[in-house]
């Protein structure tokens, strides 16, 4: 039975950064992930990482841009922490070996990004997430004496100790089917987002809301769940085209050949924040000015960027265009549309990653809601979020570990989860498959809980989600084996997703205003008088959602009219 000071669930950027920091502080560390760490979805982050590294820039400017980007829903104390610590963190990554792009003088170079008042996005071509993730994994290999890696282990539940603290998790070795108790003094959830609740999504197949659901199950609050980011430039099949394309100067063109962003953001054009650009595109499409065969898209014109620069800085999307749409983006515009990309909400934490009512439990990265992104995340702030709050969680979790004794869950605790999985595997096949239910969930969420939302659509969606949540409990699977039984894990993931989807819809129903990514067609204005607050959702004893509220922390910046 493995026991560690600090257990980290998830091995993307937040998890790996937490592991390294906890190890540096002297803790014994386990990092556990349902995929090999370099397969984590952080690998897909393309554009870069924000920070006021240049001497001419200031963290206050970065923080203000982030507050404004969040539509004043972000907690300003947390935003200050993130932006203040950003430059040191980026330099730390450089020292570890990240191959950041340089200028002619050999210094790190930055590119423009949406919603930013300075060029402060540092990058490695358009594989920034991959470059950082692989470099951190190099460090995990280097420190393997202190950090035990459990690769391809699936967490089935978090352990709630009798005193109300979190004591680790139960997990299944995917390769052998063996189940284990992982005892830990501190447990850090770093299991990523929930994009698979939507279809299409830019998110990987592994982004199935696991950590949010597991924390919710033991009483954590989920906060800002209605805030779902639609990225403005997704290919028609859902794949992401980096914001770096617009950062390098690409234009958005509607079906009438008009560069329309000036109507919506007269100063920033294509480089307004993501919610603004996605809404602008959706409005053009809804009003019949879309491009492409069904007028369902918008053209992204990268040809205005010098070809050599495209090959140097945007090579990945040249390949994407070629491989997945048959378009040479250096020669012709490519059809795109807004697509689900990120969830600003998640497990509520403080600036040290602590989950308020659950001692010993931490969350960092997309699974968490600190909240630094509020109603809308700025591009290239997510990598920063994962690293800063991963680091802080790791440090705090290690410090806590020196003060508490090692919990020891009875091995019988495994049986609860083992029986549950065995029951799914051995059940008679009735009803719909996991894939069919998941498909309905994703498609309907993308219809009723997308860029523009209405009371009617959301009410309809709540019914659908609640029906699917029940149906998910008895979905059909085929695999009767133990080695790499991905089928049974898919079933568990579906239960996670339907549970979390319900909280998203409830949040969206409750917030009867338009703020950040929450755009209510029936309440088109921001309403600071009634809604300048976070919504939280917890599960009651029966697992039914209960709505709550939390105040927003303001430090320097009062809400003002937001225009780009």
């Amino acid at each position: 039975m493995p026991s560690h000071d600090v257990l980290i669930i998830g091995a993307g950027l937040a998890g790996q950064r937490a592991a390294l920091e906890a190890a540096r502080a002297g803790a014994s560390v386990a990092i556990l992930s349902k995929v090999h760490p370099v397969r984590s979805h952080s690998v897909a982050a393309a554009g870069g990482i924000n920070g006021a590294v240049k001497v001419t820039d200031s963290w206050e400017s970065h923080a203000y841009d982030t507050v404004k980007g969040s539509d004043f829903l972000g907690d300003q104390d947390a935003i200050e922490v993130m932006c203040r610590e950003a430059p040191a963190e980026i330099l730390h990554l450089e020292h570890l070996g990240v191959t950041f792009h340089r200028n002619a003088d050999g210094q790190m170079d930055a590119r423009a990004f949406g919603g930013a008042s300075e060029k402060r996005t540092f990058y490695v071509a358009d594989i920034t997430g991959q470059a950082i993730l692989h470099v951190l994994y190099e460090q995990l290999m280097k420190h393997s004496e202190q950090i035990d890696r459990y690769e391809e282990w699936f967490t089935t539940s978090l352990i709630l100790n009798e005193d109300g603290s979190c004591g680790g998790c139960i997990a299944r070795d995917i390769r052998t089917g063996r189940m284990e108790v992982f005892n830990a003094k501190s447990t850090i959830l770093a299991s990523g987002g929930a994009g698979q609740i939507f279809k299409p999504t830019t998110n990987a197949l592994i982004c199935t809301a696991d950590g949010m659901a597991q924390a919710y199950d033991i009483g954590a609050q989920l906060m800002d769940m209605e805030m779902i980011q639609y990225h403005p430039t997704c290919m028609m099949n859902g794949f992401l085209i980096t914001e770096g394309a617009r950062g390098e100067g690409a234009h958005l063109i509607n079906g009438e050949g008009e560069r329309f962003m000036g109507k919506y953001a007269p100063n920033k054009f294509e480089l307004a924040s993501r919610d603004v650009v996605s809404r602008a595109e959706q409005t053009e499409i809804n009003e019949g000015r879309g491009a492409g065969p069904d007028k369902a898209g918008i053209y992204l014109d990268v040809t205005v960027v010098p070809t050599k620069r495209i090959h140097e800085a945007l090579r990945e999307i040249v390949n994407l265009g070629k491989d997945f749409a048959g378009v040479d983006i250096t020669k012709e515009p490519i059809l795109i549309r807004p697509g689900q990309h990120y969830i600003m909400g998640g497990v509520r934490t403080n600036v040290d990653g602590e989950v308020p009512n659950l001692p010993g439990l931490y969350a960092a990265g997309e699974v968490a809601c600190v909240s630094v992104h509020g109603g809308n995340r700025l591009g290239a702030n997510s990598l920063l979020d994962t690293l800063i709050f991963g680091k802080r969680s790791g440090a705090h979790a290690a410090a806590r570990a020196s003060d508490v004794t090692m919990p020891s869950a009875p091995t019988s605790r495994i049986e609860v989860d083992a029986k549950k999985l065995a029951k799914i595997i051995s059940r008679e096949r009735t009803g719909r498959r996991v894939s069919e239910i998941k498909d309905e969930l994703g498609t309907t969420m993308n219809q009723n809980c997308a860029v523009y939302r209405t009371q009617e659509g959301l009410e309809k969606q709540l019914d659908i989600v609640q029906r699917l949540k029940e149906e998910a409990k008895t979905a059909a699977i085929d695999d009767k084996g133990t080695v790499f039984n991905q089928d049974v894990l898919g079933h568990v993931e579906l239960e996670y997703m339907t549970k979390v989807a319900e909280t998203i819809v409830i949040g969206a129903l409750e917030r009867k205003e338009s703020r950040g990514a929450q755009a209510r067609a029936d309440f088109p204005d921001r309403n600071d008088a009634d809604y300048l607050k976070h919504y939280t959702i917890t599960g009651d004893a029966e697992g039914q959602p209960v709505l709550g509220e939390a105040p927003i922390t303001f430090t320097k910046w009062e809400p003002e009219v937001r225009s780009y």
């Binding site: 995929v35 979805h41 690998v43 200028n103 991959q130 470059a131 790499f484």
Partner: protein, 371 residues
């Protein structure tokens, strides 16, 4: 929509049965990915089909496999392209797990047992120059763009799958791990270039085990071109760091260079003495190492003579090109060796000029760039 037949190699370790083939028919557009087809099978017909996949956009590196014999990612191989290699010329797509690694279940292989173990052999982290600067290391722009090509490796294993040298020598460090090694040796912030090159050149299964077959370049879905990185490591080791390796690798390469310059075509009988003894007219022939090698090769040479693969005359008098042809070969030498700096090809830097026409612009090697 056209129909495609997916013939998938199955293996279930729990039944004790040998691997077998399953066949499914799915409707797909030609531009759709093979992975889309596999997931259609998994979602509609058989949820027990084991396959690793996640991002669907060729960045996570999970879905390496062999598709109609070609190693690569299922997510960025279009079915329309895959059938061009179909065995019977129909819409048949044969899908197998990657090679050179043990199969765990269906399309899932044990990458830890092979690939990741090999990555571990190249000290896969930066050994940074000291002192660490307060701000960033100041390094040439091109050097970062250059190592970014190997940084772009997603560790999918496609190159490992079909590496012929690894098939012959399972201990070979292999294309992916050696490309990873270049990522540090090409990085001006790393302090241990000499030591790293020394280790790789003197490893019995290292730099010089590669047989230059191009399979890994063909397999790589990210244009990392592992073999090109291996060749660059050899040039760095032999020419710049003057490492005389115990494998005679550098001398063997130089023997080719000298002989072809001299005769315009390979003088096979001269390769062994020059590789083992020394790269001169007589020095190599008299060296004890050459004698040893010749003696141990006698049975092999005997067979070759008997079967007419080798002629005594050719051993004594090397073949030679026509004078005019030889002059052309030497002109190539003059051009390449006449350059002030050695030029290396790098895909990230080798760009296109402003009006979109491909050029043959070459990036200078990092060593030259830092000079």
């Amino acid at each position: 929509m056209p129909e495609y037949t997916l013939r998938i190699r199955r293996y279930n370790p729990e039944t004790g049965e040998a691997p077998y083939w399953d066949q499914y028919t799915v409707e797909l557009e030609p531009h759709e990915a093979v992975l889309t087809g596999i997931l259609a099978v998994k979602n509609r017909f058989d949820g027990s089909l084991g396959v690793r996949c996640s991002c669907r956009s060729a960045i996570c590196g999970s879905c390496g496999m062999r598709i109609n014999g070609q190693p690569g990612l299922a997510c960025n191989t279009q079915v329309g392209d895959a059938i061009k290699k179909s065995k019977d010329g129909t819409n048949l797509i044969e899908i197998e797990p990657m090679g050179n690694m043990p199969v765990i279940k269906d399309l899932i292989v044990d990458m830890d047992a092979v690939h990741w173990k090999k990555v571990g052999r190249v000290t896969p982290w930066l050994l940074a120059k000291q002192p660490v600067p307060e701000r960033e290391y100041i390094v040439p722009r091109e050097s970062m763009v250059d190592v970014t090509q190997t940084m772009a490796c997603i560790q999918c294993g496609s190159c490992v799958s079909d590496c012929l040298a690894m098939e012959a020598d399972p201990e070979f460090i292999g294309p992916a791990a050696l490309a990873k090694a270049y990522r540090f040796i090409g990085d001006p912030r790393d302090a241990q270039h000499q030591q790293r090159l020394d280790d790789l050149a003197n490893d019995k299964h290292g730099l010089y085990t590669c047989t230059h077959c191009f399979k890994c370049i063909d397999a790589c879905p990210k244009d990392v071109a592992p073999m090109s990185q291996i060749m660059r490591l050899r040039r760095l080791a032999g020419q710049d760091h003057h490492i005389e390796d115990v494998n005679n690798g550098e001398r063997h390469e130089q023997a080719f260079v000298v002989l072809i310059k001299k005769y315009g075509i390979l003088a096979e009988a001269d390769v062994v003495p020059r590789s083992y003894g020394g790269n001169g007219i007589t020095a190599g022939k008299l060296a004890p190492a050459t004698m040893q090698q010749v003696v141990s090769s006698l049975p092999f040479m005997g067979k070759a003579l008997l079967r007419g693969k080798m002629k005594v005359k050719d051993v004594l008098i090397p073949h030679r090109l026509e004078k005019s042809d030889l002059a052309e070969v030497r002109a190539i030498y003059d051009t390449v060796l006449g350059r002030e700096k050695r030029l290396e090809l790098n895909l990230y830097i080798t760009g296109y000029d402003e009006d979109g026409e491909p050029t043959t612009e070459l990036a200078s090697d990092k060593e030259g760039a830092t000079a």
